[in-house]
């Protein structure tokens, strides 16, 4: 049952969606055998050039957590505990703790692999508005997360233009030669392998695909000026993730959690109430 007060109602619905998707992401990492306790006490916490990583390593936090399987399990389970705790109690401290545990997972995973996997940033960023009790601060920070999402895509498009790679004819073909090498070696009959092989060989087509991608990414810049096209951007973000999976073999679904900021929550609320999916006090 949802509260009567308009803000509390919207807050609660957003919390259910955001933390519901967050749980799905955590579940995905669990079945991927990639949670802290499943890492089997890795040997290396690789050296990093970024100072936050260096400090984290110097503090000995990732080494200590991954070396103790009970502690790793506690951190993994606490993701679920803090989510459920927050949804049931609405106490902001659980949202803050969730962000901290997610931050630890993000840092540790990246240091164990020695590769900076940015997908989980979406989870981190979207949990921040739920730290705040005041209606005004929650709404402003939610809006800020929306702008952050727009920045991610616009920035990706702009960098490709500024660095000139968008105009480099063989760019996507060369990327695919590295990116899809294992797929082409191990599973050459897969439909994604056929697509990769075609794009590697037909550089005109792969360049066109790259340019379409740049246009798609740049189109998110329109969201800085108006919210009129948020529904279109919502669909474009999903299109990007599907295309990225098909062409590059990268599943960036974690970033899609930020897509929730492009939804019209008043309409969702009315729909849920009208369909009696939720009831109001």
């Amino acid at each position: 049952m949802l509260p009567n007060k308009s803000f509390d109602r919207e807050f609660q619905i957003k919390a259910y969606f955001v933390f519901g998707v967050a749980m799905y992401i955590c579940f995905y990492h669990l079945i991927s055998n990639a949670m802290l306790a499943q890492m089997q006490q890795p040997t290396f916490i690789f050296d990093e050039t970024e100072w936050v990583y260096q400090w984290y390593k110097a503090a000995g936090i990732p080494q200590f957590i991954t070396a103790h399987s009970v502690l790793s399990s506690v951190f993994d389970i606490s993701l679920l505990v803090f989510t459920v705790g927050f949804l049931l109690s609405k106490r902001r401290i659980f949202a803050v703790l969730f962000s901290l545990v997610t931050f630890n997972y993000f840092m540790t995973y990246n240091m164990v692999t020695g590769h900076h996997y940015h997908g989980l940033v979406g989870l981190l960023v979207i949990s921040i508005p739920f730290w705040f009790r005041s209606e005004q601060r929650f709404n402003f920070s939610w809006e800020a997360v929306r702008y952050y999402f727009l920045y991610i895509f616009s920035s990706a498009g702009l960098w490709k233009i500024l660095r000139g790679s968008a105009f480099y004819h063989d760019q996507l073909s060369n990327i695919l030669k590295s990116q899809q090498i294992n797929l082409l070696l191990q599973n050459p009959n897969n439909y994604k392998a056929h697509l990769a092989q075609y794009l590697i060989a037909h550089t005109n087509v792969s360049h066109l695909v790259l340019l379409v991608n740049v246009v798609l990414q740049l189109s998110f810049a329109i969201g800085f000026f108006t919210k009129k096209f948020d529904r279109v951007l919502f669909a474009l973000a999903i299109t990007f993730v599907v295309a990225n999976f098909m062409v590059m073999g990268i599943l960036s679904m974690e970033l899609l959690i930020l897509n929730l900021t492009l939804l019209d929550w008043e309409k969702i609320e009315s729909y849920l109430i009208k369909k009696e999916i939720v009831t109001v006090e």
Partner: protein, 156 residues
């Protein structure tokens, strides 16, 4: 002026100066890192493969065989695949250049075996790591030019 008053930052400055300060500091942090094209947590630049990718003569990858059976990366989920392939890519050069202590080397081999066996639920235990050097022909087909054994490991 009316247009400016409706902007997010103007409204934020008007209503919540603390949050405004935090966001402005973050924006300046990002701009600073853009200037030097250097990424630092949490000032992400999100280039998404925007660096120019020149062609290479050979493309390298690693193949893992457990009891003669190759681990198919395509069957692994992203996070799991990354955990194996990225770790291998970072650890093998250290191993080959003898930059690891004997303990670290042994621990790494044991760890990779343990992690891979867990996924396969297999009981037996010989692991071979190969480095594959490949190139592409004109129709985009990959060819293995060289297959070198990096190391073999038998679980104790």
């Amino acid at each position: 002026m009316e247009l400016l008053k409706n902007t997010f930052l103007f409204r934020l400055f008007d209503k919540d100066k603390l949050l405004f300060g935090v966001i402005v500091v973050y924006i300046f942090g990002v701009l600073y890192h853009i200037r030097y094209q250097r990424e630092e947590f949490p000032f992400f630049l999100y280039g998404m493969y925007s660096l120019k990718e020149p062609p290479k003569e050979t493309y390298n990858t690693y193949s893992i065989q457990v009891d003669g059976q190759e681990i198919k990366y395509g069957k692994l989920r992203d996070a799991q695949r990354e955990l194996i392939t990225s770790t291998l890519e970072n650890a093998v050069p250290l191993l080959v250049e003898h930059k690891l202590s004997a303990t670290d080397e042994s621990n790494f081999k044991t760890w990779l075996m343990k992690y891979c066996l867990d996924m396969r639920m297999a009981g037996d235990s010989k692991m071979d790591i190969f480095k594959l050097s490949c190139n592409y022909d004109s129709v985009g087909q990959v060819r293995v030019l060289k297959k070198e054994l990096v190391y073999s490991y038998v679980a104790k």
